[in-house]
Symmetry: C2
DNA sequence: GCTAGCATGTAAACGGTTACATGATTAG
DNA sequence: CTAATCATGTAACCGTTTACATGCTAGC
């Protein structure tokens, strides 16, 4: 998730790590704070992979900082990841949000459609949640009010997301057809 | 997350690890598959902490398996974690769902109210998502259709969850008052 | 005979959290 | 002078993923 977010934001423009941190924190909707201990090693890893380069900017009245730039290989890696998200990137909403954030970078609407459809298919599968012994329970059988709440909210979320997906898929299909 | 889920399900009844796995997979709504490499070591860790015990059940016509039972210390640990969830357990929906799943185990409605209110407070904070340079953007300024989608769905989810929270909080407050 | 499901584990690699460490600038 | 924000990093620890490894039973 961190890797994709770093590649994605750098594709828009070069930044230094501190800026990157704020962008990523915003993306996560402070759902997940980005710790320095995760970010800086991640940037180093991506540099080792040849996906980005760092240029020291001697501090003119500010603390010295490093401008990080995406390489061509980095841009290709981003597109590869966007075109071909892993299963978790589709099923885990917080990961899918990252994919979605950068999906515009894919030049091909058909590739965008493919990703969105995978999410739609996943949301269309029946989601079993709780078990009575080994038998999955239906929502109507649940007496626990908190578990009912989980299902209530999950259902509302699913409906909202599917509605949006159907809307944008239709727009994209019109675009492809023309 | 795994630890809390294991403690929570075992509080309902003893199980063997394979059953636990299915319960946890259901809980996660196959958002996150539970790998054996995570589950079995987690169970061992909890055993080392004295929160559960394992009893070998020689297989009568089935493969030999181990019945896992929560200890008194394990039950206390569960209650401690439910009463006092970490910040991530409140802000990260997939983690909050785990807390919610077992919140009924807390005997005190006031403690339940406290947890739910923390979530409500978190959902009430303004969530900034994307930046234009260093300025956070308003939803109306976003032109990227996928990013607009993220905000659209997030807003719907938030409304649904807050509505449910307000409903159940009111019920619980009535309960406390009587 | 084979596949699916039941059932339990280990080991290496990876990545994230937490805590530690440093230092500059700006606003109150 | 002090707190907040800018800015970058390291190290120990922990838990998860992935891949490997084994073996039984039931139904087709």
């Amino acid at each position: 998730m961190l890797t994709l977010a770093i590649l994605g934001f750098l594709a828009e423009r070069p930044m230094h790590a501190y800026e990157l941190k704020k962008h990523i924190a915003g993306l996560a909707g402070h759902v997940r704070r980005v710790s320095d201990g995760a970010l800086y090693p991640a940037v180093s890893r991506l540099e080792d992979s040849g996906w980005l380069t760092r240029r020291e900017e001697p501090g003119q009245s500010v603390a010295p900082r490093q401008m990080i730039t995406l390489t061509e290989a980095g841009r290709e890696e981003l597109l590869r990841r966007l075109r071909n998200p892993g299963p978790q990137d589709i099923t885990d909403r917080s990961k899918f949000v990252v994919v979605l954030s950068f999906l515009s970078h894919l030049p091909d609407p058909q590739a965008q459609i493919a990703v969105l459809r995978r999410r739609w298919d996943f949301l269309s599968e029946p989601a079993s949640f709780f078990y009575d012994g080994s038998r999955p329970m239906r929502a109507s059988e649940l007496t626990d009010p908190f578990r009912r709440g989980i299902l209530t909210v999950a259902r509302a979320t699913k409906i909202a997301e599917k509605a949006w997906l159907e809307e944008i898929l239709q727009e994209l299909e019109v675009k492809v057809a023309t």
